[in-house]
């Protein structure tokens, strides 16, 4: 029967989704109508990385026209409980700050008004008094003595520290000929979907039901977290997803906390409330992948055979260990040995909290961090042992006859032939790459070749996260495991077929593939199958594993649809056999008809049999209950809970990727050019080659971003620096080279269709493949991402031509990672130092020279408060400023310490001012300052802050000079600021 049923599956049919998307008729959350009376929310966010909230004054904001409610953390705490986290620690996971803020961008208050404009006006009128605290952003520093503790109830920032041992790693290291290690600091980045978060919430006080529409993507285990936070049973939280979602890449899992916030806002306002996240909010506070510090050691034989690995991973989950974290750290637990046959593994996993936005699902989810270390290590082994890097990979691969293969850490790799995949990729391409490299090098250029082999896990075991608990803790909590998928196939009274799934697609084309799979079972044209993928937890079939993550669609969801359709088809076959007077085993489905094989006269239109159950249920033969609707729940038995020894089969399927890249680096401008990129995939059976290619190209583009462009950057004081796409750079089509995609197919024996996931692989393999090529090009060993022009140029740099002797003295180099603003300058003023001194301490003079000053209040002889409008060009904001003078050395020098805060952010700094007689009755005012800027202005103006600080300080001294020598502007003379 197989030959005639396999027809649509495996073809690149046109996507049913595309016509609507390409003509602007997608139904995204912001396109859907709202009930009359729906209000709009805007969220006020913390400008501080760490501060106590001393007071929130909302009266003025609440009194503005059109404003219905202002919701603060205290209001939230009255109606909700903190969100449950994966880690059992005493940190409270509130979706909005209560008493304390812990990262820049953390929600602090919600304004609910008749329009988003009015709501944002109201935000400007909310006055918050903060007491700033010391912040920590570096994961290593956060564990150090004296680091500020984010959650005092949790006791420390180190919230999980687990050690694992598989096999006999200590013995293997003791016996090894060589030990080679790499140290990696993997940066923070994210998935940047085109559509940001959106929530439309309503609360029914009579039934105590929250009805929340959100472009959430799962996993639906979060539904239980939300219901508990909202203090309702699960059946009183109706969570609905719109038909279309503009990308997610995992990130839209992070809309969950906002479902709580907007749900509570709707409850307080007594009307539906809508909130659409803006890009500044998204980049600053949506979801980041974890940054991770990894040290990985290998025990190696003289021939380059690895006997043991020793992982030390320090995972930075940001300010709150928000569910499902620390899943990023444990998702790869079963496949920490990658594509290699390594039987001894030691591992230490630590989770720390820092003053950065919380982390969560991002495409690749733990894979980029792991494979960057593992595949950098493979290259270092080759370099240090003077072996061919490809040979080091080959010598360590899992043998092709070893599948299904149980890894040391517990994964059961379903299928694969890594040797065949690599040899096929190498055969047509490596010689050419080497030729191009040799030619470039002969011409004096920097060209390198990189390789990466990666095992791509898909269909997560819901239980892997419990590996963070000890075996005893797990026993107490009860077993958690599995990866249930669900699909419903139904037939209407005219015999047309509908499919419904709970896979919450985000643009991938799930509906097209399901139509193909189901059409083949019924022998129908795929266009006749109607697939619905919007989800309503109040009505539809779902489980906690539902959703769009861990590349589970092709393997799990399409498989479940296949099962449901097959069950219906088998029943239809019984009906047809009865009607056609044939045996059930003879019945075939093709071309819109049902027929008895070998009997051309015994054919009946599909619809006649399919609709029979509606019209004539009494005619159903024995053993057929109904053929109207079939819901399949599929749960693979291989996904068991962690063992007593912490072995965990963390994913059901394990695809394979082998990448090769030729990259040339131009040391003059720090740019890397990808000359060739070849990516070989084994994702089992391919259902839709076009979509698989789309996933690979998309994953590659995101990996390109992670490699060269993207970092969610923070200053040392916790200021967030990349709040717009001018500073958080995504690769565009212009930057994305063509790649060559190859496939081999080893079908998974564990999935209904032989499929495996394919959506995330290049996010795991490509960054390290490109980094290996760059390392090879430049002959360097330590490489961290992103490889920005400055970083690449520095890796290749020769000594800089000296500053000419006529130029000013050399400036001290800034420390790496130090992004504070520093400067110095001088101003010549036609007045004696004593006169200047008096002016600097005089309220009225200060009021007239502080840029944009609306009034100065003198609290003591050396302590002033001012209300100022500061800005550069059209960028202006009103701030409250506080200035203190100290280290007074009258009339020669003083230190000014100042801070400002306002709707656009905060700033603080200090400067030393010196007054030196110039010998002609005037004074040379010298100044040197160090300042830091936080909040919105730092997040969006990074490129211009340095110049802006310089300009504002310049304005101050220019005004001072004018005031000191009125009427003598000619002598005002030179006024310049310069950076150190």
């Amino acid at each position: 029967m197989k030959a005639e049923t396999i027809s649509w599956t495996g073809q690149s049919v046109e996507r049913v989704e595309d016509a609507a998307l390409l003509t602007g008729r997608g139904r995204f959350i912001d396109d859907l109508g709202t009930r009359p009376g729906t209000l709009h929310a805007a969220i006020l966010r913390s400008p501080h990385a760490h501060a106590d909230i001393l007071s929130i004054e909302t009266k003025a904001a609440a009194a503005l026209p059109g404003v219905v409610a202002i919701v603060t953390g205290r209001d939230l705490a009255k109606l909700t409980t903190p969100m449950v986290a994966g880690l059992k620690i005493a940190a409270e996971n509130w979706p909005m700050a209560v008493e304390r803020v812990r990262y820049v961008g953390e929600p602090v208050a919600i304004a609910v008004a008749e329009s988003r404009y009015l709501a944002e006006d109201a935000l400007d009128a909310i006055e918050i008094t903060y007491k700033p605290l010391k912040a920590v952003v570096d994961p290593i520093a956060s564990m150090g003595e004296g680091a500020p503790v984010l959650h005092e109830k949790a006791g420390a920032n180190l919230v999980s520290d687990r050690r694992f041992r598989y096999g006999e790693p200590a013995a293997a290291f003791a016996a090894a000929a060589h030990t080679i290690s790499v140290s990696i600091a993997y940066p923070r980045n994210t998935g940047s979907p085109m559509e940001t978060f959106g929530v439309l919430a309503d609360y029914d006080p009579h039934e105590d039901v929250y009805d929340i529409l959100a472009n959430f993507q799962g996993p639906f285990s979060i539904h239980t977290v939300l219901a508990r936070a909202l203090k309702v049973p699960g059946n009183r939280l109706r969570l609905r997803m719109p038909p279309d979602s503009g990308g997610s890449f995992g990130v839209k899992q992070g809309v969950a906390p906002y479902a709580v916030l907007i749900g509570v806002a709707a409850r307080i306002a007594g009307r539906p409330v809508k909130w659409i996240e803006d890009r500044l909010e998204h980049l600053g506070a949506a979801v980041a992948a974890t940054n991770r510090v990894t040290t990985l050691k290998a025990a190696i034989s003289a021939q380059g055979r690895i006997s043991a690995l020793d992982w030390d991973q320090i995972e930075d989950c940001g300010a709150y260990p928000r569910a499902p974290e620390p899943a990023t750290l444990y998702r790869m637990h079963g496949n920490m040995t990658g594509a290699y046959d390594i039987r001894h593994v030691a591992m230490r996993n630590r989770v720390v909290l820092t003053n950065k936005a919380p982390t969560g699902l991002v495409r690749g989810f733990g894979g980029p961090q792991v494979y960057f270390a593992l595949e950098r290590l493979m290259q270092r082994i080759a370099v240090e042992l003077q072996l061919d890097p490809l040979d080091v990979i080959r010598r360590n691969l899992i043998p092709a006859d070893a599948f299904p293969y149980r890894t040391a850490t517990g994964a059961l790799y379903d299928s694969g032939d890594y040797q065949a995949a690599i040899e096929q990729a190498v055969a047509g391409h490596l010689a050419e790459l080497e030729q191009r490299r040799d030619a470039a090098r002969a011409a004096g250029r920097h060209y390198g070749i990189g390789f990466a082999a990666a095992v791509e896990p898909s269909v997560s075991n819901m239980g892997y996260i419990t590996t963070v608990l000890t075996a005893e803790e797990r026993r107490k909590a009860g077993p958690k495991n599995g990866a249930q998928a669900t699909a419903t196939v139904s037939i209407d009274p005219v015999g047309s077929v509908s499919v419904h799934v709970a896979s919450t697609p985000q643009g991938q084309g799930h509906r097209t593939v399901l139509a193909q799979v189901v059409a083949d079972i019924f022998g129908l044209p795929h266009r006749e199958i109607r697939v619905v993928a919007d989800l309503d937890t109040g009505k539809d079939a779902w489980s906690i594993a539902s959703g769009n993550y861990s590349s589970r669609f092709a393997a799990a969801v399409a498989g479940a649809a296949h099962l449901a359709a097959t069950r219906l088809r088998d029943k239809l076959a019984l009906i047809a056999a009865d009607q056609l007077k044939a045996k059930a085993g003879q019945i075939g489905f093709a071309g819109g008809a049902i027929f008895a094989k070998g009997h051309p006269d015994k054919t009946i239109p599909f619809g006649r049999i399919a609709a029979l159950c509606h019209w004539s249920p009494a005619l159903l033969p024995e053993g057929v209950d109904q053929t109207i609707r079939e819901t399949a729940f599929w749960a693979p038995p291989q996904l068991t809970a962690p063992s007593e020894g912490d072995e965990i089969n963390s994913s059901l399927c394990h695809g394979f990727i082998f990448d090769m890249a030729g990259v040339e680096v131009d040391p003059a401008n720090g740019k890397a050019r990808i000359d060739r990129y070849v990516t070989m995939h084994d994702c089992g059976r391919v259902l839709h080659p076009g979509m698989v290619e789309g996933q690979i190209r998309g994953g590659f583009a995101q990996a390109l971003g992670a490699t060269f462009y993207e970092e969610l950057a923070y200053a040392e004081d916790g200021a967030f620096l990349t709040g717009t796409f001018a500073d958080y750079l995504l690769p565009t089509a212009t930057e994305t080279p063509d790649i060559e995609i190859l496939h081999i197919e080893t079908p998974s024996p564990f999935t209904p269709l032989g499929t495996k996931g394919v959506g995330e692989g290049n996010c795991m393999s490509t960054p390290v493949c490109l980094a290996n090529a760059v390392a090879d090009a430049l002959g360097v060993s330590d490489i961290n991402l992103p490889l920005t022009p400055a970083r690449l140029a520095a890796l290749a740099a020769e000594p800089e031509p000296a500053r000419p002797a006529t130029s000013r003295a050399a400036a001290p180099a800034a420390r790496a990672g130090d992004r504070s603003l520093r400067g110095e300058g001088e101003a010549r003023v036609a007045a004696a130092p004593e006169a200047i001194w008096t002016m600097l301490l005089d309220v009225d003079t200060l009021a007239s020279i502080i840029p944009g000053c609306h009034g100065v209040q003198k609290l003591s002889e050396t302590h002033f408060k001012a209300d100022v409008t500061l800005g550069v060009g059209p960028v202006k904001g009103r701030y409250k400023a506080e200035i203190k003078l100290s280290d007074l050395d009258e009339p020669r020098a003083a230190t000014l310490t100042g801070s400002v805060s306002g709707a656009l952010g905060t700033g603080g700094g200090f400067g030393r001012v010196t007054l030196t007689p110039d010998g002609a009755g005037g004074t040379v005012i010298g100044y040197a300052y160090e300042a830091a800027v936080g909040g919105k202005v730092a997040a969006i103006g990074g490129r211009l802050l340095d110049g802006a600080a310089k300009a504002i300080i310049g304005q101050f001294f220019a005004a001072l000079a004018r005031k000191a020598s009125p009427g003598r502007p000619g002598l005002l003379a030179r006024l310049f600021g310069r950076r150190v």
Partner: protein, 275 residues
């Protein structure tokens, strides 16, 4: 990301715009293409009380020649200047530089004078104005005045324009015979703010190089026809004098390196155009 409330005035003449500017001063902003101003409004970085839209003023959208000058009035979009027939021979520097300015979509809206008024330190239009020693024509209700580009741009997003003035036009000197022009830029991606932009003009006895993205505004230096290590030394001195900025996208060192290397290759390219 919604702007604070503001009034919007679409004027039919420059006089009307100037009257409104005279009345509202620093509380008013001129809007033309809006490619820099609108994001600033939406992020509430700027909260003007009044926006004066000049795009409806007749006659502001036509580029014209006045002798040796290419005069670009306030309503001319960047795309329109780029598409001006014969621009590559009329002023090759503009033809080379404009494709680097943002993206197709932003050039279709953004104006040439708007970019000058915004005075971003990395921007291509201010760089070309400075490189060519062009002029900025300002007008208020009281008077008109013409400033050399170097006098107009005073710092990061700061110009000599008074609150009651608007830029009526900018004027670029057309190409002179016996002069070679070249433009190059390094940005992280095409269309991004330049890490360093270089515009060179080489004449029989002189080299001029203007650099954007390094100091707080575009800066120009002129030298005799140096070459070899003398040119390297001059560029090295220039690189240090510019007091390069350090930001997320590039180190001060990389910026100085680019003044030395990209500056030199741009000068050489301009010299070849001359030959």
């Amino acid at each position: 990301m919604k702007p604070a409330p503001f009034d919007y005035l679409r004027v039919g003449s420059l006089d009307e715009a100037l009257a409104a500017l005279a009345e509202h001063g620093s509380e008013a902003r001129i809007i033309a293409g809006g490619q820099s101003l609108l994001p600033m409004l939406n992020m509430r970085l700027a909260k003007p009380a009044l926006l004066i839209d000049i795009m409806g003023v007749a006659g502001l959208g036509e580029v014209r020649r006045e002798g040796a000058m290419i005069v670009v009035p306030a309503g001319v979009r960047q795309a329109a200047l780029l598409q001006r027939p014969g621009l590559a021979s009329e002023q090759p520097l503009l033809a080379a530089a404009l494709p680097w300015l943002g993206h197709y979509q932003t050039r279709a809206r953004g104006t040439v004078c708007g970019s000058a008024a915004h005075a971003d330190p990395s921007a291509e239009i201010p760089l070309c104005l400075v490189a060519l020693d062009g002029e900025v024509r300002l007008r208020s209700r009281r008077k008109r005045r013409v400033l050399k580009a170097a006098d107009f741009f005073s710092g990061m997003m700061v110009t000599d324009k008074a609150d009651d003035e608007l830029i009526e036009a900018v004027a670029f000197p057309a190409a002179r015979p016996g002069t070679g022009y070249a433009f190059n830029e390094v940005a992280r991606r095409h269309g991004d703010f330049a890490i360093v932009g270089c515009a060179a003009m080489v004449e029989a006895g002189q080299i001029h190089l203007a650099v954007a993205g390094v100091a707080d505004k575009s800066e120009r230096r002129s030298w005799p026809r140096l070459d070899g290590s003398a040119l390297d030394d001059a560029l090295n001195a220039f690189a240090w004098e510019l007091d390069a900025r350090e930001d997320l996208h590039a180190s001060a060192r990389l910026r100085r390196d680019l003044v030395r290397t990209l500056g030199r290759s741009t000068i050489e390219e301009a010299g070849r155009c001359l030959a």
